[in-house]
Every structure is written in C-alpha cells, then in structure tokens.
C-alpha cells in the first residue's frame, strides 16, 4: 500500500491540495527547508505574530525554525512536555517519541527552578502540573499555532494529528492562525488507509491501543463553527526526500511512519544515544534518512555506525529493510557513487585492500609478508608496543597504541606442535 502511494506521490499530493484548498486552507509546497522557513516567517511577520505555540514537529527541527523565529523577534514555545524541557535546556531531542528521556525528574526540577523560578518539585506529577500552568498562559496569548502532521488524507483533504497530551489540539484550536508542517511522504490515499497506519503507528510508538487524541482537521473552520483559527496553512516539505525517492534502493525509507520502534530496538542507539547522530532523526532510520536529507557531507559516517544486526528490521511495523539500505549506502559512499567529491576511500586505501586480497589469498605470500613485517617493525617497537607509524599509516596510532607482530605466528607454533606430537615420548 505504502509502496503504491509513494510511487504515485504526485497524484496524491495534488489530490490532497485540491480537496483541502476547496475547504479553505492554503497549501504551500516547499522544495527545501529554507523555502518552508521563509514561508512561515513571512506569514508570521505579515500577520504581526508575536508568540508561536508549537506542537511536536520533526520537520520544524529540520528547518531549525525556532532559531529563525527567535531571530525575527517572535517567541517560539514548545508545548510537548518533553520538547518544552528540551527547549528550556537549550538542547535538541534525544528520541523522536520521548525527546527528553535522558533527563530524570531531578534534572527537570532543577531546570524549572533555574529557568522559571519555580520552587523545588520532587515528583513528576507536580512537574507536569507546573508545565500545564506555565504553558496555559502561552496558549491563550499565542497568535500562531504550529503542528506537525502524522497523515495527510488525499481523498478528503484531512490532516491527521496523533497526540497524547492535547497540545496538538490546543495549537490547532486556540490561536488565530494554524500552520501544519508535513513531510511530503505523509500522504495516504483514503481514511481507511489512515485507520490502518494509525494502529501501526500508535502500537509501535507508545505500546498503546490508541493515543489519547487523534485529531482530524478538515480544512478551515466553517462560518457557523463556534471557534477555531481564522487561517489554516499546510506547508508540505520535500527537503531532500526526492533524493530518497530517486534512488530505487533507498526509496523504501520513505515508508517510515516515525514511530521510533527501531530506535528502541537498536543496540547502537541504546549505547550511544540520540544526540550522537548529530541531526533531527537519530537511530537506525536516522542513519539512512539523515545522509539523504542533509546531502551526505557530515553525515557520511552514519551508515557505518551499525552492526547490521537486523533488530530494527524486526521491530519495524511497516517492515522497512534498514540493514539492506545501510549496506547500499555504504557501498555507494565507498565507491563515491553518491557524490564524486565525497569519495570515502582514498587511493592508498583501495590499493591496500587490493594488496590485502592478494596476500591473504596465498599461504606463501602471507607467511612472507608477516616475516617482512616482523623485520620492519623492529625500529618502531618501544616497550612492547608500537606508538607511532610513519606517513599514511600514522592515523592508526594517533589515538591508540598497536601490539607488535609476535615473534612467531600461530601457524609456526601449530607446525611446531605437530612436530612435537610426532616425536617419540610425547603423550597424545
């Protein structure tokens, strides 16, 4: 289903646009994060917006929207409890579902004391109440509410939002302008399709049967409605997604529903944590999505930061084959196929691996090279270890010492052992 949707993305996006525009909303298609940010900023400035309340949106993180709003003199307020904590701390999310999971109640209490001047609160319920109080005031004065979008339903022009706290409902009800930010792959054909994905998303993200709130926004409020925003804008963002779409091997990554199940299953993520990935999307899926969205560059090491154990693939509710794509990315990066200027392997490295293949392919050559190595290492061994290697090999010893080749190899010793065993008087 998702494959079919992705293969006809243009068709479904135009259908969505037609429907929702007829219902009074404004759709803006942004080729990249800059265009999306500019649209939101221009809108906020034109409408004299001073405070923006934000529901959880990963796209907004892609855009770096908070920094830009702040620069423009507009106050962005994160309202998801985890995001709020992160924003107070001046950090980025640690996990896509539970952004502040690396902080315990004491960290949060201390943060509230420092930033909000609250008294010490030692229980989580009290911290939740405090956040409700603090944020309630912001909801009341905010002129613009920004939310993400879990689903865009092409058939009806419906925006589907899944939340547990109610901040998404607040942001789409209270302010006079509602802006929803959506990755272009969020579109599904029908309401029934959304129903199926809702089940998968909610179960995998939080283990619930259903989230507290599933909100369906069908265009702008009707004239007879009691309340609701006066303006409704939907910004649909590409920002590197077409790069994934253009690659038959990586297209599958667009099937991701952002539930976070692969993060929870990943032994590497569990060890290194979300901030190590250096971008909005951490974990196994992030190791594919980040290099594609940001255009490799600094992210080119991410596909290599995996043991390819396959736990992510097992955990994924839509069965995205993450290990296969990581391998494909590694191959392309090494070959320089993704970007010729960004070839990962150097000439020396490729020559070494060629030599390695020849030497390790032959007993005689391997034995000979080990004996040569033993002779050559003599001037380098100090105190039983090698602390420095010359020229292109120096990188290996910059942060560590090497053990020298032993004076005799396992093969030598095995041969000696067999000789001893054959000799008379040796007990078998």
């Amino acid at each position: 289903m998702k494959n079919r949707t992705i293969a006809n993305l243009d068709h479904y996006l135009e259908q969505f646009e037609r429907k929702v525009t007829a219902l009074g909303a404004v759709v803006y298609f942004a080729p990249d994060a800059e265009a999306a940010s500019k649209y939101v900023l221009d809108l906020a400035k034109a409408r004299g917006v001073r405070t923006v309340i934000k529901g959880k949106s990963m796209i907004s993180e892609e855009m770096g929207l908070n920094e830009q709003l702040t620069e423009a003199g507009i106050e962005p307020v994160e309202t998801d409890l985890g995001e709020y904590v992160i924003q107070l701390a001046g950090e980025t999310p640690y996990h896509i579902v539970a952004p502040a999971i690396h902080k315990d109640r004491h960290d949060v209490s201390k943060l509230f004391q420092e930033k909000l001047g609250t008294p010490h609160i030692d229980n989580i319920e009290g911290l939740g109440k405090e956040a409700r109080q603090q944020l309630r005031g912001k909801f009341i004065v905010a002129d613009m509410g920004i939310t993400g979008a879990n689903f865009l339903v092409a058939e009806t022009g419906t925006l589907g939002l899944v939340t547990n706290e109610g901040n998404g409902r607040m942001a789409s009800s209270m302010p006079r302008i509602h802006v929803a930010l959506a990755g272009m792959e969020r579109v599904v054909p029908t309401m029934e399709d959304m129903s199926m994905f809702l089940r998968l998303l909610i179960r995998s993200a939080t283990g619930q049967r259903i989230s507290s709130y599933v909100t369906l926004v069908n265009g702008l409020r009707r004239p007879a409605d009691e309340d609701g925003p006066e303006e409704f804008h939907i910004v649909i963002v590409d920002n590197g997604r077409s790069r994934m779409l253009a690659d038959p091997e990586l297209r599958e990554a667009l099937n991701c529903i952002r539930c976070g199940a692969c993060l929870n299953a990943c032994p590497v993520y569990r060890k290194v944590g979300g901030h190590s990935y250096g971008y909005v999307y951490p974990g196994p899926i992030g190791a594919i999505v980040t290099p594609m969205l940001t255009g490799l560059g600094d992210a080119k090491d991410l596909p290599f930061a995996s043991s390819l154990c396959g736990a992510c693939k097992e955990a994924c509710p839509v069965k995205v084959n993450i290990p296969r794509m990581l391998l494909a990315l590694r191959r392309d990066l090494t070959d320089g196929k993704k970007n010729p200027n960004d070839k990962r392997s150097t000439l020396a490295e490729r020559l070494s691996f060629k030599a390695w293949r020849v030497l390790f392919g032959s007993n005689a050559l391997l034995g000979l090279s080990v004996r040569i190595g033993r002779l050559m290492q003599i001037p380098l061994v100090r105190g039983g270890v090698i602390r420095w290697l010359p020229g292109p090999l120096s990188g290996w010893t910059r942060h560590r010492t090497l053990k020298p080749l032993p004076s005799s190899s396992f093969r030598d010793r095995w041969a000696d052992h067999l000789k001893d065993a054959d000799s008379p008087g040796h007990r078998q």
Partner: protein, 245 residues
C-alpha cells in the same frame, strides 16, 4: 509561490521516474464509488443497531481500561443524576457545555443551576465573535458534551466540532464528561471513518473531529505516566443505554 510549487513538483516527478524500478508501475487505486460507500454505510448502520447492547458493554470495558471513569445509566433520569453527581462531587462552581441534543434531552441546565453551578452553553449568536466563550472555558471546572460516536475497540468518544460544539469545550477545562447514547457505538476506527465520510459528504466534512481515548497523558519524564498536562486529567463517560430514536 507558483515557482516554488512548480519546482517542488518538477523535483518530485523526476525523482519518481528515476527511482522507479523496472517494470513496476503501480497505478493509484480508484477511490470507492458512491454506491460502494453507501453499501458499506448501510451494513455498518445495521450492525451497530443490532449489536448496540454488546458494543456498549465492550465500550464500557475498553474505556475503563483506557482511563475513563465509566458510568452506566439505564435511562435519561439516571444519566442526569450521574452528571449532576460528578459536578457536585468535584465541587465545581462553573462549567461549560456543548449544544449536543442529548444534553437538552437530559435537561442538565436546571438541576446544575439549582446546585449553584454557573452553566455556560458554548454556542454563540451569529453576531458574536468566535472566541466569545473562550474565557468561560478557561475558568470552568468542567466541560460537558455529548458524543457523535464512540468506538468499542479503543474506548473512544468521537466529537465533531462545529455549530454548537466548540473545539475547546472538551479540551481546556480540567475535567471532561461525555454522554454516549446507545446506538452510536461503532466496533472500530474503520467503521467510524466510513460513517463520518457519509455524514459530511463531499465538501462538508466537519472541520474538526477528535477521537478522544482517555485523559491527557504524558510519559515524557522518566517514562512515568502523568495525566492532565494540557487536556483534561480526569474524564468521565456516561453510557446511556437508551437510544435517541
């Protein structure tokens, strides 16, 4: 703006072509025809009428599991008594309510006022500003609504906002009480979406629908559950075993 849209679709279409696997050209499924939808709707309506009692029982169990306080009422009088008891028990001084039919049939206003509770119906006159009742909701100790549908599987109340139903009446006060009538309980999300589509037709979908499944929750600090971070922390479902028809 057009140029941005054009470059968006140009990039998208060229990516669709270059990323397509050989021989693979799945065309979009056609949307269901009106006749198909009507057939489905008729089947669902028959089902929820015939199994109204079973669905109500299933809803009671799943809603309880989902964090609702569940009240069963055999008739209008019992339901009214339960609503008044909830408000009295919480010692609220003011509440906001929607203009759902079921609340008028219960006749909630008189008994609540007799208890000294200030009741605001969040339904504005044409001349009034859409946010005219907002302050009442912010000050209220309780928000009272009916429900368009309920979902047996997930323990959810479904509220379409529109004329007479504010978006925030079930959201802003710290306690939400929803009255669900027999015959409005559907088995699962799938049936709900089919019925909603039919109710509002081509262009006139309710602008805003919420599927509410328990209290406002967050587990963002230490994965420990807290309720009422933004929405109501306490939610009651009054199940009225008497249909409107």
């Amino acid at each position: 703006m057009t140029s941005s849209r054009e470059s968006f679709f140009a990039g998208l279409r060229s990516a669709l072509v270059s990323g397509a696997e050989a021989g693979e050209a799945p065309r979009p499924d056609p949307f269901p025809t009106d006749d198909e939808v009507l057939a489905r709707v008729t089947a669902i309506q028959k089902l929820i009428a015939e199994q109204a009692a079973e669905l109500m029982d299933e809803l009671a169990a799943s809603a309880k599991a989902g964090g609702w306080v569940v009240h069963r009422a055999a008739n209008i009088e019992e339901a009214l008594g339960q609503v008044v008891d909830i408000a009295r028990g919480l010692a609220v001084t003011s509440l906001v309510r929607s203009d759902h039919d079921v609340l008028s049939r219960l006749g909630v206003d008189g008994p609540l006022a007799a208890d000294g509770i200030d009741v605001t119906k969040m339904a504005r006159e044409d001349s009034e500003d859409p946010s005219s009742h907002r302050q009442a909701a912010i000050d209220a100790g309780l928000g009272l609504t009916g429900a368009d549908y309920a979902i047996a599987e997930t323990g959810s109340a479904v509220l379409a906002a529109g004329q007479g139903v504010s978006r925030i009446v079930s959201l802003v006060p710290p306690v939400h009480v929803a009255v669900v009538e027999r015959g409005s309980v559907v088995p699962s999300l799938d049936e709900l979406f089919t019925l909603l589509r039919q109710d509002y037709g081509e262009q006139d979908w309710a602008s805003y629908v919420n599927i509410i499944s328990g209290p406002s929750r967050s587990a963002d600090i230490e994965y420990t559950l807290v309720t009422g971070v933004h929405g109501p922390g306490e939610v009651h479902l009054v199940l009225l075993d008497e249909g409107s028809a």
